[in-house]
C-alpha cells in the first residue's frame, strides 16, 4: 500500500494507563474478601461503604505486590510514600473521594522493552505506578430511570501503571500491552483477565506534525475491553485526529468511549463535573517507608521474567526465537518444555509437539497445561515412539488424545487401541496389492508417470489399515509393485 503525504507529515503520540486489580485475599483498606462474581453489595463493610468515622488500614500484601510490579518494570521504588485523596462526586465512590497516590507514588521512572518488526527493541518509559482503591461498579442499562451501583468492587487493590508518551502507533500500544500483561502474569499478582475487568486500559492519543516539539491536544479513550479493541480504537482516533487537523479545525480535549459494535469512538456525555480533583494528603493513613532490605528481599523473590526466559530458552536449548516466544506465553508450558528436555534431547521435536498437537488438544478442551494428567515424560515417550516408527504422526496424535482423556501411558494406549504401526512387510504388501487391483485407472496414470496419483493410492492404503501404516513405506511398495 502506498503512503499518502499526510501519513508522512504527522506523528501519532500515545500514552497508556493500565489499571490492574491485585489478587490479594482482601481489599486494600479493609478485611472484606476481594472476590469477583458475588451477589451485588454482599462484600462490603462500613470502611468500603465510606461511612463516616471509619478508618482505612493498608493491606501489607498489596504493598508487597506493588513493589514486585515496580521492580519487574525496572522502576525506582520510592523509599517514602503516602496516600492522597482524589476528590470527586460520582456514585461509584461513596465517600466522595478515592484514596490514591499523588506526588509520592510507590514507583517511578521505569521502562519495558517491546519488540519491533525488524527484530530490534524499543524502550517504553514507565512514568509511574501507584496504588489506589477501585471504585464501585455502575450498571447503566438495567433500569429505565436510574443507574444501579454494586459496591463489592469498591476498595479492590489497584495498581495504575502509566507510560510516558513514547508509543508511536496502535501496533506499538498493542505490543506494549502484550508484554506488560505477560510480565504481570509471571509475577502472579493478578489474574490479568480483561473480561472480568482485572486489567483495564485507557489511552491518551494525540497527533503532531513530524518533529514538532510540543504534544498536540489529546483525547482520552476508554471502554476498550480487549487489546484488539485498544488497537482498533487507537487506529480510529488516529484517523479522526488527522481528518480534523487536515480540515483546519481544532481538536477538543475530551474523553471518548469506544463502541465495540459500531467500531467507533464517541464523545462521552456524562453528568460528571469538569475534572478538578483537589488532591490532598490522606489524613487517615500515615506515611510508609520502604527499606532497602525489603526491596532486596522482593527482588530476590522475583521469578525469571518473560524476556529473560525467552533469551535463556533460545540459548540453552537451541530452539528458534519463534518457538521460544510461543512457549513462554505461559510459564507452566515453559516449565513443561524444560522438564521434557530432561527425558529427550531433540528439543526442536519437543517444541513441535507442544506448540502443535498439545496446544490443539488443550484448546479443544479449554484446558491449561496444569489441568493435564500427562507428565512431561509421558509426552517424550510418545514422541520417541513416533520417531522410532512404532506410531506415525496421525496415530501419534490420536494416542496423545487418548492419553489426555484417560491419563494412561503411551504403551497402554498403543496396546489397548492396537495403534502400533504395522511393520510386517507381507501384511503391507497384501494391502497394496488389494488397492492396486481395485484402482485400475489410477494405476494406469501412475504408469504414465503421474506422480500425484501415487499419493491417492497411499491414502487408500492408509485408510485400509486404519491409519496404522507408514505412508512413506506404502509409497515405496506401491512403486515396486506397479
Amino acid at each position: 500500500m502506498s503512503q499518502t503525504t499526510t501519513e508522512k507529515k504527522y506523528e501519532t503520540v500515545i500514552g497508556l494507563e493500565v489499571h490492574l486489580q491485585l489478587n490479594t485475599a482482601t481489599k486494600i483498606f479493609c478485611g472484606c474478601a476481594n472476590v469477583f462474581g458475588r451477589d451485588p453489595n454482599s462484600q462490603t463493610c462500613p470502611v468500603c461503604l465510606g461511612l463516616p468515622g471509619t478508618l482505612p488500614v493498608l493491606n501489607k500484601k498489596a504493598l508487597e505486590h506493588a513493589i514486585k510490579v515496580a521492580l519487574a518494570l525496572n522502576c525506582k521504588v520510592n523509599p517514602y510514600i503516602k496516600f492522597d485523596r482524589k476528590n470527586y462526586f460520582y456514585p461509584d465512590i461513596p465517600k466522595g473521594y478515592q484514596i490514591s497516590q499523588f506526588d509520592l507514588p510507590i514507583a517511578s521512572d521505569g521502562y519495558l522493552m517491546i519488540p519491533l518488526a525488524d527484530g530490534a527493541f524499543k524502550r517504553i518509559g514507565i512514568k509511574r505506578a501507584h496504588l489506589e482503591e477501585d471504585a464501585g461498579k455502575l450498571i447503566h442499562d438495567a433500569h429505565a430511570t436510574g443507574s444501579l451501583v454494586d459496591y463489592n468492587r469498591t476498595g479492590t487493590p489497584l495498581i495504575e501503571i502509566v507510560t510516558d508518551p513514547d508509543l508511536r502507533s496502535a501496533q506499538e500500544a498493542f505490543d506494549y500491552l502484550h508484554i506488560l500483561k505477560l510480565t504481570l502474569q509471571y509475577l502472579n499478582v493478578s489474574d490479568c483477565d480483561m473480561e472480568k475487568g482485572s486489567l483495564r486500559c485507557d489511552a491518551n492519543i494525540s497527533i503532531r506534525e513530524m518533529g514538532a516539539p510540543n504534544l498536540g491536544t489529546k483525547a482520552e479513550v476508554k471502554n476498550m475491553n480487549s487489546f484488539r479493541a485498544v488497537k482498533l480504537a487507537l487506529e480510529f482516533e488516529e484517523n479522526r485526529h488527522r481528518t480534523i487537523v487536515e480540515s483546519g479545525e481544532r481538536i477538543i480535549q475530551e474523553t471518548r468511549l469506544w463502541n465495540e459494535e459500531k467500531a467507533m469512538t464517541f464523545a462521552m456525555r456524562s453528568k460528571e463535573e469538569a475534572h478538578d480533583y483537589r488532591y490532598f494528603p490522606e489524613p487517615d493513613l500515615v506515611p510508609f517507608t520502604v527499606d532497602q532490605s525489603v526491596i532486596d528481599h522482593v527482588r530476590q523473590s522475583l521469578p525469571e521474567l518473560p524476556q529473560q526466559k525467552l533469551k535463556r530458552l533460545t540459548d540453552q536449548y537451541k530452539i528458534s526465537e519463534y518457538d521460544a516466544a510461543v512457549i513462554i506465553q505461559d510459564p507452566d508450558i515453559a516449565n513443561f518444555f524444560e522438564e521434557c528436555t530432561k527425558h529427550y534431547a531433540e528439543t526442536k521435536k519437543i517444541c513441535n509437539w507442544i506448540n502443535g498437537a498439545l496446544f490443539q488438544e488443550l484448546n479443544a478442551r479449554k484446558m491449561t497445561i496444569k489441568d493435564l494428567k500427562i507428565t512431561p515424560q509421558d509426552l517424550t515417550t510418545l514422541i520417541k515412539k513416533v520417531e522410532e516408527g512404532v506410531l506415525n504422526n496421525l496415530t501419534g496424535k490420536d494416542t496423545l488424545k487418548f492419553m489426555i482423556d484417560s491419563g494412561k501411558s503411551t504403551e497402554e494406549i498403543i496396546q489397548e487401541k492396537g495403534l502400533a504401526q504395522e511393520s510386517d512387510d507381507s501384511v503391507l504388501e497384501k494391502i497394496v496389492d488389494e488397492i492396486i487391483a481395485a484402482n485400475d485407472k489410477v494405476v494406469a496414470q501412475v504408469k504414465e508417470g503421474k506422480d500425484s496419483a501415487i499419493g491417492f493410492l497411499v491414502g487408500q492404503a492408509m485408510r485400509k489399515c486404519q491409519g496404522k501404516g507408514n505412508p512413506k513405506k506404502f509409497g515405496e511398495i506401491i512403486r515396486r509393485r506397479i
Binding site: G31, D39, S42, T44, K271, R278, V286, T289
Partner: protein, 94 residues
C-alpha cells in the same frame, strides 16, 4: 485575592448552593482566612522538611486476612432507593 467567581466555583465542586448574599459573605470570610494563613509566608521555613502528617507514626499495616462482610440487606439499609440488591441512583450517563 478571592473573587465571587472563585467562591461560586468551589461551591459547585462541593455541591453547595449559595445565594448571592452568602456568596458575598464567604468571599469576605475566605479572604480573611487566607490573609491570616498568609502570615506563614513571612516565616523562614528553608530548614523545615515538608510535612504531610503530624503524627509520629508510620508503616501501620493490616495482614491480608478476610473478615466477615455486612449482609447485603444490612448494607442496603442506608440506600435511599434500591433495585435487585443494588443501590439505585439517578442516571449518571445520558
Amino acid at each position: 485575592m478571592i473573587t465571587d467567581k472563585d467562591v461560586k466555583y468551589i461551591a459547585s465542586l462541593a455541591r453547595i448552593h449559595l445565594s448571592d448574599e452568602e456568596s458575598a459573605l464567604f468571599t469576605k470570610n475566605l479572604e480573611g482566612i487566607l490573609h491570616y494563613v498568609g502570615k506563614l509566608e513571612k516565616l523562614d521555613v528553608s530548614k523545615v522538611e515538608p510535612t504531610s502528617h503530624v503524627l509520629p507514626l508510620k508503616n501501620v499495616y493490616r495482614e491480608d486476612v478476610v473478615k466477615p462482610s455486612l449482609p447485603q440487606q444490612a448494607a442496603l439499609k442506608i440506600a435511599v432507593e434500591k433495585h435487585n440488591g443494588a443501590f439505585k441512583v439517578p442516571k449518571v450517563i445520558e
